[in-house]
Symmetry: C2
Subunit: 309 residues, 2 copies
Amino acid sequence: MTFELTILGSSSAVPTSKRNLTAHVLNVHERFFLIDCGEGTQMQIRKNKIRLGKINNIFISHLHGDHIFGLFGLISTFNLLNRDTDLHIYSHPELENILNRHIEYFEKTLSFKIVYHHLKPKLNEVIYEDDKIVVETIPLKHRVPACGFKFTEKPHLRNLRKNVVQFHKIPISQIQGIREGNDFVNEDNEIISNEKLTLPPYKIRSYAYCTDTAFTEKIVPLISGVDLLFHEATYAKNLKRQAKLTSHSTSEDAAKIASMAKVKKLILGHFSARYKDVSSLVNEAREIFPNTFAAEDGEKYQIELCREE
Amino acid sequence: MTFELTILGSSSAVPTSKRNLTAHVLNVHERFFLIDCGEGTQMQIRKNKIRLGKINNIFISHLHGDHIFGLFGLISTFNLLNRDTDLHIYSHPELENILNRHIEYFEKTLSFKIVYHHLKPKLNEVIYEDDKIVVETIPLKHRVPACGFKFTEKPHLRNLRKNVVQFHKIPISQIQGIREGNDFVNEDNEIISNEKLTLPPYKIRSYAYCTDTAFTEKIVPLISGVDLLFHEATYAKNLKRQAKLTSHSTSEDAAKIASMAKVKKLILGHFSARYKDVSSLVNEAREIFPNTFAAEDGEKYQIELCREE
């Protein structure tokens, strides 16, 4: 039951010799969600040994080149590999036109179908749901329409304690109910309380991805208490003016948001290419929100399963 | 007086974890020529410590995605860095429309001018010339119009032997003529033969780039005797049929061309992603043309200066 984020690229606007352009992959129970797709994403996917064919859903925050220019090559590669599974792309509606024009010229026909899901970046709404996970949009504040994404696991059921099924002779038909919290009445009409039969369920894990954005408190309730928050920190705090001008955040902005939303862990990224060393940005953020780390290409953040108390 | 090739990408069609998509940089006397521009080229340029601002001329062999998708990000980066020098792009005319549509949507305005040079891929003609180098097209045989490029140094002048200017009291006005091969008549009307005054000039160095192409003997006279030939070898010889079907070459095809053209050194590349290890392709080629090597990303091939005999 994996819940693991892989950072594929952590630079903003232009790549550096060590940082690729923005893309993340979230692995939820072996379902791989690609979030943004800057140039070089398909190479980073390969280098990080993620199977291309496992990616069926791509979430695009906004239509700036550093977040989408990798789609051209990725789609081309899927086509060359004769992909036949539908590819779902969640983005601003205009991306459909951009990709259609591109596909028409370079691919002619595709071996697979692209299903476009047009987002309304100003709304907080559920845009994806399956039996394991829910994805919702987080309206952001940028120069063009932009939204973040929150990935939240569906609630886990309680787990049966060891050997209780055999010991109390529980019929299979009642197991689901017990995992949902029911007590059990045995053949002697004794009530066995649910607590004796089960362990508390695993906690719901969550990840929020917020880039590109200026500082905006409006997102705080939407990302409240997430296990992992990725928030852009394009600039250090001394470039606050530059951040405001370009609708980006400073490391301090990101930490304030993390602190207000009481998240568990903050990852900074989308660093301006001017920073060869981002430790000063991390240190600035840690003064406000100590559990802060810098995104590095190829790094993985796993959220372990742990039980509710 | 550098003449050095850097391989930025050596995979065909789709990248692998070790091979990026096609792009080469040729450094001729500190002028940097970019040849093809697959996705990720700007990252490879940075990783190989080539200064982006030194690239003023880009040569595109043909309009398949794996040779051009890096242009979108590269142009965007040039714009973000406020480039102001003209960028010359040599390619099939259609690229101008593709890039114009792209720039119109993503960049709006550019800080620099792109000068498009429309190639006629079926002709062998000079498309670039400066005081150091001449570039000509090599018509290739592919599924879409495609051409290779030959880079040939301009002839070097003879070099003056040590101390001859002082010893024979040669006026500055006559030095150019002597370097061109003239004898010198001194104040006593003695003729000093050119051989006594000068060393033979450096040999002209040359590089030919041939991808994508099926085997075609027509290119042999056009690349005759080059110091370095890059010829695609998408497949091993046992996939000859596949090569023919897709208008690509086998390692054997490349070696035959190198042998017929009596080139000095052959580099194979544009390898199909199916080959994790390309040593079998190199060995096959070496049976026909021993001085063969496999292109590896980040590798440099320097052609040293040496004098004519």
